[in-house]
């Protein structure tokens, strides 16, 4: 009897360990966290905000999901839980996730030449979709803005010479390296992926595809994705989601592309997203590029970019401090929206304080 009872409890324990919480129409609320660790996080993320000088750390939203439940949420400035906030370059990782659904439909393979789906790349026939996902097209792109506006490819693409057809503007660049060899962060590469998607899924499905493939299955109701004049999604920059909705993408990624009992993204797709690009050299960027996601991995002789976070941490990052951090080993997803106009904000510092406040409280 006693033996049977203990077996029952072991079963019960293992059941509860495997019971997963998923958001329904709303996130379910987890246990409320308080204490000095949380205060330290808030001191860092929410200092007094000065909208006239726009100096320092200016967090618009900070939201934390643990074990599939909302355990922390705070908004500042004009942003609220209902604001579809500009994600800037988080859009790139979102487009990769949309592409992952198409990949799961068997519509393309990673080694397919991009020109197969985007004929305007006829002068660059060797670029594969994997190269674009690695920001390794070899196209001579200048990502710097603000400091070098005359030579900035991205400013010209978004606002002047390229805004009507951003992928064609990118395809018009010369090559500086053989495709697939070298990393150079490029918003152009991401928009070539968006243009390729048009023929991958077909022009009829394309205008609704991010919604039908990704947003609707995840229960995301308020996504906006701006296009250029040809109707191509601006995958580099212009997706807008509420913080709560962006966290759903994070949970999908934290759970290896699975949403409930549906494997929305093939596991090998997520593995590709999370594998460091071999052509990346130490300190080329603030984190290590995978397939349109940023990784906290020690590669090429350099230390982890965020030493106070676990090595399995990965992120989607955008201009002015936008971030979606995913930490599968801690079952954590963190969304941060911001309007940082200087370089004060440090990913590692936020992660360090967030982990102190939220990590390892439920798992035995």
């Amino acid at each position: 009897m006693f033996k049977g009872l203990s077996l029952f409890f072991i079963l019960l324990l293992s059941l509860s360990a495997h019971a997963e919480t998923w958001p329904a129409e709303q996130w379910s609320q987890g246990p409320k966290i308080t204490g000095p660790a949380l205060e330290s996080l808030e001191t860092y993320a929410f200092p007094t905000r000065d909208d006239s000088t726009r100096k320092g750390i200016r967090t618009d939203a900070l939201l934390v999901i643990r074990d599939g439940q909302l355990i922390y949420e705070r908004y500042a400035g004009p942003t609220s839980a209902d604001t579809p906030h500009l994600t800037w370059s988080i859009s790139k990782s979102l487009m990769a996730t949309v592409l992952g659904v198409a990949y799961g439909e068997g519509l393309f393979s990673l080694q397919d030449p991009a020109v197969k789906f985007y004929p305007a790349l006829e002068n660059h026939p060797a670029i594969t979709l994997a190269d674009l996902l690695h920001w390794a097209s070899g196209l001579d792109w200048q990502e710097d803005y603000e400091y070098a506006p005359l030579k900035s490819s991205v400013v010209a693409m978004l606002y002047t010479l390229g805004h009507g057809n951003m992928a064609a503007f990118t395809a018009g660049h010369d090559e500086y390296a053989a495709p697939g060899q070298a990393f150079r962060y490029s918003s152009g590469d991401s928009n070539l992926l968006s243009a390729a998607l048009k023929n991958i899924v077909g022009p009829r499905r394309y205008p609704d595809y991010p919604w039908t493939a990704l947003f609707e299955p995840l229960g995301i109701r308020h996504a906006v994705w701006e296009t250029d004049a040809t109707g191509t999604f601006v995958a580099s920059s212009y997706a807008y989601l509420t913080a709560r909705d962006l966290a759903r993408i994070g949970l999908l990624m934290a759970r290896d592309g699975r949403w409930g009992d549906r494997q929305l993204l093939p596991k090998d797709w997520v593995a590709f997203n999370r594998k460091p690009f071999a052509g990346y050299r130490a300190h080329q960027d603030t984190a290590v590029p995978g397939g349109q996601w940023w990784l906290n991995r020690a590669v090429d002789g350099a230390a982890q970019p965020w030493p106070d976070a676990p090595a399995d941490t990965f992120a989607a990052l955008g201009h002015w401090g936008q971030a979606l951090y995913v930490i599968p080993s801690e079952n954590l997803v963190i969304v941060r929206y911001a309007d940082d106009r200087d370089g004060s904000y440090q990913h590692n510092e936020l992660l360090k304080r967030a982990l102190k406040a939220f990590a390892g409280k439920v798992q035995p």
Binding site: D51, P78, P84, L150, V155, A156, Y159, V224, D228, Y240
Partner: protein, 107 residues
């Protein structure tokens, strides 16, 4: 020629600089011609999205799009959600397209 250089070293230097500058201008003519559009196009597009996609109030969005370069004219037609900005001798407009597509620069 070498006599001219010796007699007029400064004029020669200035002449060379002028030639180099003209060469640079010619080489960068496309980027230079597009450059004055940046401030008005940026302001029109990002204001439109701040106001009509993110649904922030007008005063906040005016501050949000402020850059080190000033713009001169600004008009926002709230009824048609159409924003026009001028600066550096150019004018650009952005318009709200729809619930899913947000704002876009008008060609």
């Amino acid at each position: 020629m070498s006599g001219f250089v010796r007699r007029r070293p400064f004029s020669t230097l200035l002449l060379l600089l002028l030639i180099a500058m003209l060469g640079w201008i010619w080489q960068e003519r496309v980027a230079l011609w597009a450059f004055p559009d940046i401030i008005s196009a940026y302001t029109a597009k990002e204001y439109c999205s701040c106001r009509y996609v993110m649904n922030n109030d007008a005063a906040y969005c005016r501050g949000y799009v402020k850059q080190w370069l000033p713009f001169s004219g600004f008009s926002d037609d709230e009824a048609s959600k159409h924003v026009t900005v001028s600066g550096m001798g150019r004018s650009n407009s952005a318009s709200w397209v729809g619930e899913r597509q947000g704002c876009r620069l008008v060609p």
